[in-house]
């Protein structure tokens, strides 16, 4: 047995080296696997069910992979399609794929793995006490669950195996764990689960486990009890260090990886350099869960936002920025209470001082006096028009507010016109829970098409 998985890039949409891809294709892989998403770019994508990457760059990168697949007649698999992996983003990706099939004159069988969850069903699971919080999970309630804009379940090896088993040429998966995309085909072919999952984690970001992350492409070869990572681009090397250090990447625990159906333990893993330049890996352990569980991700709308930006270059105001902003906040509060008669404080105004401590806030330890400060004012309220009203009340104060009594009014610098901007809905992540399932396919759906 020798199963080869080609990973062209850590994420479709961030480009990869085409020469390296061609080198990889020469090794005759059994499958091309690429990740299309993550939560790492924030809650707005899942909130809206939209992709982070441009449609044109996604299409152009997917075209090259579809051409490669047609040449080699091997399956092409994408996970977490359209960044967030909702049904809507899978359909968006499917549409791109259909356009390309037509343009490239390809006849292809396509399977979609749908991962969006019904809020009602998730709430039922919550009421049956079948949702379990993960580390640092926010508190949930029926109201919160039913107010989610989108909930997805993260598919693992079991669901992706079902999708691959449909014998499709192209498999478009909704939200999936990164490692399961790589691990599925090897496990289907008898590779030890620990080995396959371990390779899944190491290879999830493509060439991030090499000396040259930008090259994108890597090839993973599996035998029953070990795998080999091979760089396929020129001037790129893999070493036991670059490979094993990837276990640390964006992982809360460098020795343990929690995945659907179990956990991977790499404490006793062995990494060895081979003569052909690849790295040999073995020795991880897979602990199967007694109860099969799937992780859920969900977002809800907490309000609406508008922002304003003003630049403060006057030394005395830079020095007294806290006093200035506090006075403005109080004035705005007064105006709102008097003129709008909003009884409850249902809005929030945040001042962020760019150049002073906007990045770290109260954790900032440097106390240097900046030359200038960019003041980013973030207004959050229950309705968009309320944000706009508040921003307009703020504007003359941001422009002219004086901290001195008997001086001419100052004027501050606005870099843009209009001076305030509508952000729209403010989404937040509200689920970090697992749901236990009788059958792994209970909450996932497959759709098959021939184009």
């Amino acid at each position: 047995m020798d199963i080869k998985v080609l990973v062209p890039t850590g994420a479709l949409g961030i480009t990869y080296c085409k020469k390296a891809l061609n080198n990889g294709l020469k090794e005759k892989p059994d499958i091309i696997v690429v990740d299309g998403g993550s939560t790492d770019s924030g809650p707005a994508y899942l909130g809206k069910g939209k992709s982070k990457y441009s449609r044109s760059s996604t299409k152009s990168e997917w075209r090259t992979l579809m051409v490669a697949r047609e040449k080699l007649k091997i399956p092409l698999l994408i996970g977490s399609a359209g960044t967030c992996g909702t049904d809507k983003s899978v359909d968006w990706f499917f549409k791109i794929t259909k356009e390309l099939a037509k343009e490239l004159n390809q006849n292809v069988k396509i399977t979609l793995l749908k991962c969006s969850q019904s809020k009602k069903d998730v709430n039922k699971a919550f009421l049956r006490e079948n949702l379990y919080p993960l580390s640092n999970a926010p508190k949930i309630s029926s109201k919160k669950i039913l107010n989610c804009t989108n909930i997805v379940g993260l598919a693992g090896v079991e669901q992706i195996t079902e999708a691959i088993n449909t014998k499709a040429d192209i498999i478009i998966c909704g939200r999936s764990t990164d490692a399961s995309l790589i691990a599925s085909l090897p496990i289907m072919n008898g590779v030890d689960k620990a080995v396959a999952w371990h390779a899944g984690k190491i290879g999830e970001c493509g060439a991030f486990c090499t000396t040259n992350p930008k090259s994108g492409v890597i090839l993973i070869s599996f035998k029953k009890n070990c795998f080999f990572i091979k760089p396929v681009s020129n001037n790129t090397k893999v070493t036991p260090y670059t490979v094993s250090a990837h276990m640390v990447y964006e992982n809360s625990d460098p020795f343990t990886l929690i995945e659907p159906g179990g956990r991977l333990d790499v404490k006793k893993a062995i990494y060895k350099k081979q003569k052909d330049g690849s790295v040999y890996v073995t020795g991880a352990n897979w602990v199967q869960d007694y109860n099969y569980k799937i992780k859920l991700e969900g977002t809800h709308v907490v309000g609406y936002q508008s922002i304003s930006m003003v630049l403060i270059r006057d030394e005395s105001y830079v020095k007294n920025i806290n006093k200035w902003s506090k006075q403005i906040k109080n004035k705005v509060k007064e105006i709102i209470e008097n003129s709008l008669s909003w009884k409850k404080r249902s809005y929030e105004i945040q001042f962020r001082f760019i150049g002073k401590n906007a990045t770290l806030g109260s954790l900032e330890r440097k106390k240097l006096e900046p030359t200038e400060i960019g003041v980013l004012v973030i207004v959050t309220a229950k309705k968009q028009y309320e944000c706009e009203e508040i921003s307009k009340i703020l504007n003359p104060l941001l422009l002219h507010h004086s901290i001195y009594k008997n001086k001419e009014l100052p004027t501050f610098s606005f870099p843009l016109s209009p001076p305030s901007f509508k952000i729209g809905k403010k989404y937040e992540f509200c689920l970090n829970h697992v749901m236990s399932l009788q059958n792994p396919m209970d909450i996932f759906k497959l759709e098959k098409y021939s184009i």
Binding site: P43, N136, A245, T359
Partner: protein
């Protein structure tokens, strides 16, 4: 000397939307042994204003890496969050002054 000048690299990242993870890449075994003495739960708790019992420190001897995982000060992308990708939290450690006595050990 600041920690930044003593190690190869410090990187901070989200580990999902609810946790933050900071990796300190030490230059060699000796460097790792020195740095690890400074990375205590008390020190991290003070720097990141996080309760000690919510801090996990993983010394990875074979790789000369120290991993620190804490709850995100604010959930990723929530209205109080300032750093969507958790990119700059490592700077707090980079700029930490390390006592000379410890470096020369």
């Amino acid at each position: 000397m600041r920690l930044k000048e003593l190690v190869k690299k410090i990187r901070s990242k989200n580990a999902g939307p609810f946790l933050l993870t900071i990796d300190i890449f030490c230059s060699d075994k000796k460097n790792f042994e020195t740095i690890i003495q400074n990375i205590t739960k008390i020190a991290i708790s003070k720097l990141y204003k996080t309760p000690k019992n919510q801090i996990n420190i993983f010394p990875m001897k074979q790789l000369n890496i120290i991993k620190i995982t804490i709850p995100r000060p604010n959930i990723q992308g929530s209205s109080k969050d300032r750093d969507l990708h958790g990119a700059s939290f490592g700077i707090i450690l980079e700029e930490l002054k390390i006592k000379n006595a410890l470096i020369n050990k």
